[in-house]
């Protein structure tokens, strides 16, 4: 019997359809069907300015907007041969990690709700709101920030921000203990999640699975360590890793990642406290939105004479490795943008970690994959 789980289904957390063939309660076959949220971001980008695409990036993945901005900005800066100032790089790292915290907490809330645990959803939303408050204090938005710019970031953090942020980090570290107690301390949780949705390392690599799913299979691959971008080579952190490759392992990996993120954020705050400086590159052409770019004809000329280039960037987004490929043919719009979404690939491997389990296992497995449909469909 084929059962459609979606597009309107409490399990999906978004707009996609999991077609499941079941035999009694046993899953025989699955066929994820995506595209319900395909908004054609890559096509729209063809007639958007470089900085206007940032707006689309926020909406591309709505739980990790600023990380996706970073992906795109990395590629665009490569394509346009622009380098962001150091302080902007630190700010980007801080934003990435704060976003990772927010995204993982959102994942936690949704995941435990799928398991039937009701209260932690509310706890998660409560704690996530604190991080969003931080974002709001320097970007003005809760979900969609438009904070990164080609050549830096839009503005610096306000005074007193670092202290507020430290307080939130301390609060979160306490909450993580509570989260663990609610989940790992529960016998039912362990019985439901252990040995579920197993995807071993070899399969992960073959299927292109990245992010916490890969790390939970014992492969310590993290772009922040392996191929440091921005200033990740200057902060200290450990790559979270687990070996069981099941739902519990993914839970453990994400929880550990949150702790490491707090660690990174604390380091960036210390750095930001002591190293004031510009956050946007000088001599940007005016059409890239730099407030102090040369006025008048010069900006126009700069636009026309901008060198061609193709840029590529990869960022360890909360869900996995996100990549952007930006082709610049010298115009004010990119010729082509292409984004690689980690969830897209993780979801495409669904057959390999779902068959053989039961209908009741679908929500925890899918929850542990951490689906964000915005970036799957783009």
């Amino acid at each position: 019997m084929w059962v459609n789980m979606g597009p309107q289904h409490p399990m999906t957390h978004g707009l996609w359809n999991l077609r499941v063939k079941i035999d009694g309660e046993l899953i025989v076959d699955v066929d994820p069907e995506v595209g319900y949220l395909h908004r054609g971001i890559e096509k729209i980008s063809e007639d958007r300015h470089y900085n206007e695409i940032i707006t689309l990036m926020d909406r591309c993945c709505y739980v990790a907007g600023i990380a996706w901005e970073h992906v795109y900005i990395g590629a665009a800066e490569n394509a346009l041969h622009i380098t962001a100032p150091e302080r902007a790089q630190w700010l980007r790292v801080m934003c990435d990690e704060l976003q990772r915290l927010a995204s993982h907490i959102m994942w936690y809330a949704a995941f435990v709700q799928d398991l039937g645990l009701m209260s932690p959803f509310l706890y998660g939303m409560r704690d996530r709101d604190l991080i969003l408050d931080l974002f709001q204090s320097f970007t003005g938005g809760r979900l969609t920030y438009e904070y990164n710019r080609v050549g830096g970031v839009r503005n610096d953090v306000p005074s007193g921000f670092t202290d507020r942020c430290r307080k939130v980090m301390d609060w979160l570290m306490d909450r993580f203990v509570e989260y663990d107690r609610l989940c790992l301390g529960s016998e039912i949780f362990r019985r439901r999640c252990d040995g579920l949705g197993v995807l071993k390392a070899k399969e992960c690599v073959d299927l292109g699975v990245t992010g916490p799913m890969l790390r939970s299979a014992g492969v310590a691959r993290d772009l922040r360590k392996d191929r440091p971008y921005a200033v990740y080579d200057r902060v200290e952190f450990d790559v979270a890793k687990a070996d069981a490759a099941d739902v519990t392992a993914r839970y453990l990996v994400r929880m550990e990642e949150m702790r490491q993120s707090v660690r990174i954020v604390r380091q960036t705050l210390d750095w930001l406290d002591h190293h004031p400086g510009p956050v946007l590159a000088d001599h940007l052409p005016r059409w890239l939105g730099a407030p102090y770019a040369p006025m008048g004809n010069e900006g126009y000329l700069l636009k026309r004479n901008f060198p061609r280039g193709t840029g590529f960037a990869a960022v360890e987004e909360p869900h996995g490795e996100a990549q952007a490929y930006v082709v610049n043919t010298g115009g004010e719009h990119p010729y082509r943008t292409k984004f690689r979404s980690p969830v897209f690939v993780n979801l495409s491997a669904a057959k390999h970690y779902m068959i053989g389990y039961r209908v009741a296992d679908i929500p925890p497995i899918m929850g542990s994959v951490d689906i964000c449909v915005g970036e799957v469909d783009r």
Partner: protein, 206 residues
């Protein structure tokens, strides 16, 4: 009887000796009958009359005299939105049910089945691929029902208005009662939209 032809059922069943309800009770002014039977007769006349009177009273009330404000109060204070998430606004939709905003204060409880909902909150970009599913969901909801277009995408396509796959405004598909601006709207804006809808229901007096 040896007719081989298929027996055609007689359209009129053979009449029984006496219909159950038409016993031979004479009229009131007729010859003397036992007392109880007259009472029965009166009761039999009384029941249809009472039924008529009651139903007309009920109809009158249902049409807005007495119970209508009560039902209106009930309807506007218990709006169950459909629990589904389209895009970014769904995250703010979820946040509105979180600890800080807690939409349940106003009696707003998301239900997963459209049969149990009164309110369709279109929280995100609607693509052509999902359009007919949205219409199905809307049609599966029982009357009376309302629609809130949450966010710029649902209102008019938002930043994706020009895209080849996006419906420029959900009002092309289903009738919308309340539009909420914002990309995405904050949870306060959603709560405000729901309260505006309550005001709308109150004023419309349905």
């Amino acid at each position: 009887m040896s007719s081989p032809a298929p027996a055609v059922a007689s359209p009129v069943p053979p009449k029984s000796a006496a219909p159950l309800l038409e016993t031979e009770i004479p009229l009131v002014n007729g010859p003397a009958v036992p007392y109880v039977e007259i009472e029965t007769l009166r009761a039999r006349e009384f029941i249809p009359q009472a039924k008529e009177a009651l139903s007309s009273l009920l109809r009158e009330q249902m049409e807005g005299k007495l119970l209508r404000p009560v039902f209106n109060w009930a309807g506007r204070n218990s709006l169950f939105p459909l629990h589904w998430g389209l895009a970014c606004c769904a995250i703010e939709f979820a946040a509105a049910f979180g600890a800080r905003w807690d939409a349940e204060r106003f009696g707003v409880v998301p239900r997963s089945s459209p049969r149990q909902c009164d309110l369709l909150i279109v929280n995100g970009t609607v693509t052509w691929k999902v359009a007919h599913k949205l219409i199905t969901l809307y049609e599966q909801m029982p009357e009376p029902k309302w629609v809130i277009a949450m966010g710029n995408c649902a209102t008019g396509g938002g930043p994706f208005r020009t895209a080849y796959s996006v419906v420029p405004g959900v009002d092309k598909l289903v009738p919308v009662d309340i539009y909420i601006a914002g990309c995405p709207p904050r949870p306060e804006a959603l709560l405000d939209g729901i309260l505006q809808l309550e005001e709308l229901i109150r004023r419309r007096g349905e």
